[in-house]
Every structure is written in C-alpha cells, then in structure tokens.
C-alpha cells in the first residue's frame, strides 16, 4: 500500500468509486451484448422453415 498521507480517505474513495463504476459499466455492456445475441439466435431459429413445420 502506498503512503497516502492525511487525505487517504479521499484518494481511496476516488479509486474504489471509479473501479466499481467501471466494473459495472463493463458488465452492463458485455451482458447486454450477450442477451441481444441470444435473443437474435432464438428468433432466427424460430424463423427457419423446419422450425415452423
């Protein structure tokens, strides 16, 4: 742990806050993409002629 001086709480809060928000942002983008691709695959399967018979 680096020496953060008397204002360590502010520095830690800034880094932890940014790390959390960045993690949530990455997760949201990745999970949204996966859900969309899964939905597209399902719809394409439904539209195949053999699936409709």
């Amino acid at each position: 742990m680096p020496a953060l001086g008397p204002h360590a709480a502010f520095i830690i809060a800034a880094y932890v806050g940014v790390a959390l928000v960045t993690f949530v942002l990455i997760a949201a983008v990745v999970l949204n993409g996966r859900a969309k691709r899964r939905r597209l695959r399902e719809l394409e399967k439904l539209r195949r002629p053999e699936a409709r018979q």
């Binding site: 680096p2 204002h7 502010f10 940014v18 942002l25 949204n32 993409g33 539209r47």
Partner: protein, 254 residues
C-alpha cells in the same frame, strides 16, 4: 430498353462502415484491444500509486489526478465523436452514424459522472470544498445532463430514424458546451487550475508525473474504444432483432 444506371462498386470505407462488415472486422479487434487495455491499466495504476512522487503542494492527493483527468478528457472526447457522428446522420444518413451516437451516449455519461465524482473528492482536500458553481464545474455538470437528455430522447421514440435525426440536431446544439468547458478556466474566475498538459510550449509537469498521467489517459481511452465497439455491436444486433420481429409479425401464421 436497357438501363443506363450503373451500380457503384463498394469502396473500402463503404465496406468498413457496412453494419455486417463492422460485426465481422470489429469481432477480431475485441480480444487484442482488451489485452492492451488491461496491460495499460496495470502499468498505469502501478505508476500512479507506487511509481510517481507526491506533489510538493497537493501531497498524495495528486494521485486522484491520474483517474480524474482521463475521465474528464473522455467526457469531452466522447461528445466530440458523437458530434462527428451527428453530422454523419444529418448529412449522409449513414446507419452506422446513428449506431455510433446511440452507443457512445451512455459511455460519455458515465465518464462525465466519474470526472465529477473524482473532481469533487480531489477538490475537498485541495480547495476546501466538494463543489463550487464556477464555469468549469457547472459546464461539466451541464454536459452530464446533456448526455442524460440524449439517452432519454433515444428511449422516447419508437421510430429510430426520426429519433436519430432529432438526437443528431440536439447533439450539434449541445456541442457548443465543449469549447465552453475547455476555455471556462481562462474566461472566468475559477478554483479549477488552468490547462497544464496540452498547452503552447509543452506540458508544465515533470516527467515522473506526466508519464503515469499519459499511461492512464491511454488506458481509459482504450477502455472507451473497447466498450464503444461492444456497444455498437449490441446496437446492430438490436436493430436486426427489431427488423426480424417486424418481418415475423407480417408473416402469415400456420
């Protein structure tokens, strides 16, 4: 009578900007881009927390700069990309311009929020206050609200083409705020320090502080590029889903 019309062959930039082609070439970029982003963050965080000295005035709080400045930079850079895409939507009506705008807006909003959050935490020990209604902070807060407004507008319309045109016009109107943010520190009295990196005559910082700042700038910019590509791919898939659902609704049921 034979038609005299000719079909213009696709040029390289047409192929690059075609949604199907974008899905193909961007898919090959994701893992290399993710790898470079992780390496840059590891290197940048090590330099920011261990490999750089304290500032002679601010002490260790200078370390907040290494996450504040990249987010502040991205808050404006993302809006710049949206502005160029807005021109693409209004002038050429290119579908990828709409996709670019829609994917970038939430990312820009989050980077702006993180710039405000880290700036506030840096301001308290440095200036003695979390917030000050001065030009730089207020114009950055307005930028955040502009992003939220554009996101809400996208969501409010069922007709995506109409939404894209309206969002593009409002994006161009909102672009006036970017030079205001940039020059606010020169135009008005402010607690915020003036520009010290991109200035005539070179940066005013020593190399051991400038180096971690640049590495973190690249790390966050690569993260944005990666997330932008992923979000654009999702948006293209969303439009395919919409088109497919419309087709299926029109097909006769067995």
């Amino acid at each position: 009578m034979a038609s005299t019309e000719t079909v213009r062959p696709m040029r390289w930039y047409d192929r690059l900007g075609h949604p199907g082609a974008f899905l193909s070439w961007s898919g090959r970029l994701i893992w290399p881009l993710a790898g470079v982003t992780v390496l840059l963050f590891v290197w940048g965080l090590w330099l920011a927390l261990y490999g750089s000295p304290e500032d002679y005035q601010m002490g260790a709080t200078v370390r907040i700069m290494y996450i504040h400045v990249p987010n502040a930079w991205l808050s404006q850079f993302v809006y710049g990309i949206m502005t160029v895409a807005a021109i693409g939507t209004l002038v050429w009506r290119h579908p990828m311009a709409d996709v670019t705008m829609k994917a970038a807006a939430p990312l820009g909003a989050v980077f702006t929020l993180m710039a405000l959050f880290t700036g506030s935490l840096w301001g308290r020990p440095t200036w003695g206050t979390f917030w000050e209604w001065d030009g730089r902070l207020t114009s950055t807060l307005i930028l955040f609200f502009i992003y939220l407004g554009l996101i809400a507008l996208w969501a409010a319309f069922d007709d995506k083409l109409r939404a894209a045109r309206l969002v593009a016009v409002l994006t161009l109107v909102g672009a006036i705020n970017i030079p205001i943010i940039k020059f606010s520190v020169d135009w008005w009295n402010t607690l915020h320090q003036p520009a010290s990196v991109f200035v005539a005559g070179g940066p005013k910082m020593p190399m051991n502080i400038l180096m971690p700042l640049f590495v973190m700038l690249f790390a966050f910019t690569f993260l944005f590029l990666l997330l932008q590509i992923l979000a654009m791919r999702s948006e293209i898939v969303t439009r395919r889903i919409d088109a497919l659902q419309r087709k299926m609704a029109m097909e006769p049921r067995a």
